[in-house]
Point group: C2
Chain length 265, copies 2
Amino acid sequence: MLVVGELINSSRKSIKAAIDAEDAGAIKKIAKDQTENGADYIDVNAGTYVGKEDRYMKWLISTVQEAVDTPCCIDSPDPKVVEAALNLHKGTPMINSISLEKERWDALLPVVAGSDFKVIALCMSDSGMPETKDDRLAIAGDLVNSLVKNNVAVENIYVDPLVQPISTNDSYGMEFMNAVEAIMAEFPGVHTICGLSNISYGLPERELLNQTFMVMAICKGLDSAIINPLDKRMMANVYAAETLAGRDEYCGNYLAAFREEKLAL
Amino acid sequence: MLVVGELINSSRKSIKAAIDAEDAGAIKKIAKDQTENGADYIDVNAGTYVGKEDRYMKWLISTVQEAVDTPCCIDSPDPKVVEAALNLHKGTPMINSISLEKERWDALLPVVAGSDFKVIALCMSDSGMPETKDDRLAIAGDLVNSLVKNNVAVENIYVDPLVQPISTNDSYGMEFMNAVEAIMAEFPGVHTICGLSNISYGLPERELLNQTFMVMAICKGLDSAIINPLDKRMMANVYAAETLAGRDEYCGNYLAAFREEKLAL
């Protein structure tokens, strides 16, 4: 499981406070904590600073990279912000995210074409949000084929089938999960990824729903996620699900996690 | 989700103590607690009393039925014990379980043929335990077809694909789960059911594995389970998984469980 640590996002109060105070120590601590708890990439998002996003993105990227070797997941729809981040990022980042929306596609394609970046490809188009498995599969097909034509290696593509709230439509959970399964079957080598919080929008006990949804998605083949690696229960669920899904030889990672006291709830 | 409460089993210390002391109050309390927490059937097993199983089975059945209207799941491989239980059971019980092992099949078929009992059909044959999805599907096919030929209604058949320990073979989790999916697709109307504890045999933090496995199995279509309804975390996982799997119109059961304080962990 590839884990993108989601915490360094300016929409979170504590991160906004750290940015406003230029408190590099606080940002570094969160980068280190996420790395130590299993993050393979550190998502960095300064999207709430309209007009100043590039400035804060750059500060966050440098600050994170002073603290950890874990590469960043540069999280912005604005190609100028992404370029600014790329200019100072060391190592190979992940880009979050391109989509089939024409404006976003045209803006970000030149940035990722021919690169060796990991690219999150969000199943969204100008016709709106996908509802069914087939909607998602069609958009995913266009995204994967177009990215490959533009010299993005298939194994660097992380398709996000787009989670929608189960409170809106009973079928949204399974449509998403069946899309994960279909995308993994249809495009060998491609990865699938998602954030979770949308699934539980409008319902109580959201963490329970998010964790349960993650386990189900892993069962259907999801191999990457944008989550909080400091959420011990979420990570314990991920370890257990990976083992049960047959992706953990001799239960080695599960047993290591147990020895590191990461499983006790 | 059909829930069979697993607690009244003489292999559990507290139940053995209650049986030995003929403490009907203790048995009644466990029957009531399971019913109040979602059990649709109360499993009753006196298998550890070799030579006296029928006597204790009868006492347990009457005791349970004095306490609750929930029907019993009569859990014995011995047709004499099952017959003894049937003679005094009120309502329509579940039988746990027939299998393709010749001795067991021949003994229990006359009991269930033409009946309206719910019948657990365990994927086990004289060639040993199934390993792969296809092994399970083949045994399930024989069981379902033979039971239907003997006038057991397809909707009364609960196929148990047989959980095997993930510590023995990395693939045992997915082989089981893919069997659930295949059985539900191949035999419309049939149910799938399982006990869980085998999956985590030999590993630490067994409850975490059992709960995670249950969520994954629900995602693959499992619609019944033999579990402990008093395990709050397990039941919360079941409520969440059912909702996310699209089996809970307008999230009604999930919201009701929340109001009854069954979801907070």
